[in-house]
Symmetry: C2
Subunit: 316 residues, 2 copies
């Protein structure tokens, strides 16, 4: 696997344009006053399926030749990636086979069904998910789509940052969460290509700080099996190989935030900005609010990665 080029990202953008939303970039007077600077939020919570993952997956589905994709696509995921594969396959008019753990949020299971995907529920562990998915691939000839450790996914996800920078070209900082790194690597890469003077700061929950430790040591670390839980369920995963290679080369720093900081930032965005964002999206907002002084007098872009939340089961 090689690092996507700027042309790869530009081609991805042209390719997915008919299938995704060019989401708005919004500002909040309250936030600007708080940090005494300018902050621009790229609202991927308003993306199709409610998350930035739609971009990477649409790039994958629509860059697969139609004779090769005729048997559909498969994946295992408990979250936004599952919904994105279901939706993108439906847009391409082919089948989607989604393996989800039994304990996935009911709202996400319902959404995947709603997009017409064929759903398989399995035991909630990595081995069971992989096994069920491999079996489906063997039986159906569907193509499996990995959630983040893939140059095509990274190039697709990078288009969110591309749109942000095109709309606000003089950013001092771009903030983005990091988990598997599909979004983080894409944002890091496009910023490096088109706005090299902008610093990329990645934000990670303290409780799942494998990307932080990897960045510090220079060696990719995986998340220990007995890691602490985080409310930012979408980031509860080890950073991918290609993802880490890109981040190590081009990101400026990785910083961590506590669970309390994430929940309080999420609540702030809901109550004051009236926007529904998911906990993963609140992680860079938490960093912004924690390290205010760093962003005073500066122009900062923040990618709000998604808005899928079980509203009857909130952390506050």
């Amino acid at each position: 696997m090689s690092i996507p080029s700027l042309s790869d990202i530009k081609r991805a953008h042209t390719r997915i344009y008919p299938y995704v939303v060019n989401t708005p970039v919004i500002t909040s007077r309250t936030i600007n006053e708080l940090v005494d600077g300018e902050v621009f939020f790229k609202c991927e919570n308003l993306q199709k399926v409610g998350a930035v993952e739609m971009r990477g997956v649409a790039n994958y589905v629509f860059s697969t030749r139609s004779d090769l994709r005729k048997n559909g696509f498969a994946t295992h995921s408990s979250g936004n990636h599952a919904q994105a594969v279901a939706k993108a396959a439906a847009l391409a008019g082919v089948k989607a086979y989604i393996v989800m753990p039994q304990d996935a949020p009911p709202v996400k299971i319902a959404a995947v069904r709603g997009y017409g995907a064929e759903l398989t529920l399995c035991e909630p562990n990595e081995a069971a998910r992989k096994e069920a998915c491999d079996k489906i691939v063997k039986e159906t000839g569907a193509i499996q789509i990995h959630g983040y450790d893939d140059p095509i996914i990274i190039a697709g996800n990078a288009t969110a940052g591309k749109e942000l920078i095109e709309e606000e070209p003089d950013l001092d900082f771009v903030l983005c969460p990091v988990g598997g790194g599909g979004m983080a690597a894409g944002t890091t890469l496009i910023t490096h290509y088109v706005s090299p003077s902008t610093k990329v700061i990645l934000a990670e929950p303290e409780n799942v700080n494998d990307a932080y430790l990897s960045f510090q040591s220079g060696e990719r670390q995986t998340l220990p099996v007995d890691h602490k839980p985080t409310v930012a369920d979408g980031l509860q995963i080890s950073i991918g190989e290609l993802n880490f290679e890109i981040i190590k080369k081009y990101a400026d720093s990785i910083e961590t935030v506590s669970e309390e900081e994430i929940i309080s930032a999420m609540r702030f965005v809901w109550e004051r900005m009236k926007m529904v964002i998911e906990p993963s999206a609140a992680v860079p907002v938490a960093l912004l609010l924690k390290n205010k002084e760093q962003f005073t007098g500066k122009k900062t872009g923040v990618i709000l990665v998604g808005g899928n939340v079980q509203v009857d089961n909130l952390p506050f």
Copy 2:
């Protein structure tokens, strides 16, 4: 009190323009597909203080001569009106005296304090609220601002509908909630003046249907003391006199929705449109979803009146 003229509303708009947000009008593909028509949401949940009330109150405060407003403003309210008076007085550089019932949502009490108002908590009943407020007015010389039954408030609130119609001039319907009628009368009036072919439909919770009954009988009715409760706390109030006069003359219909329909519409907007709206704002959305066929093939405007919710105390 006389019905505001079109000039009154235009002057109100010019007057409050520096102090309010020209809120966005948004669309939702999901909603458009559901009703098979075009729906335009005027996002007053993104207004200052998170509610359309800011418009009417700003009109009141800034149309009061500065020598007359020097002793500040007073009001009693448990909700958005209290926040709006606190904020508008602060913008005018004068004092705000707010009487709130002890059982008002903590988040609203905190917001009023945050705007620098002088707060008086009282027993949670109408008589205690009035008494406390009258006492303050007598002692301080502050001017009391009524929440809705006032031509200046109505003219200010009408500017939300004015902006909506200017942005989307060919609406077949405008939907808006009705409680005291400050917003409903304003929207009805401006639509009558500038887009007379647009039908105005007002939506009210079944449990507090005094405006509905008034409209049916042609005689203003007040809410019985033992009325059922509604989750749409902002609408739990009898329709005002001037408000009813305007609505009776110019609105096309008033229709009611159940508590279940309100809660489910609110949840729909949160989960699918990723927007935080308060229950009162969900009332016309509930009507839209209930009577889909009526809006099929049509262009409908909906005023989302506010977004102030205690996020740790939700009806779902």
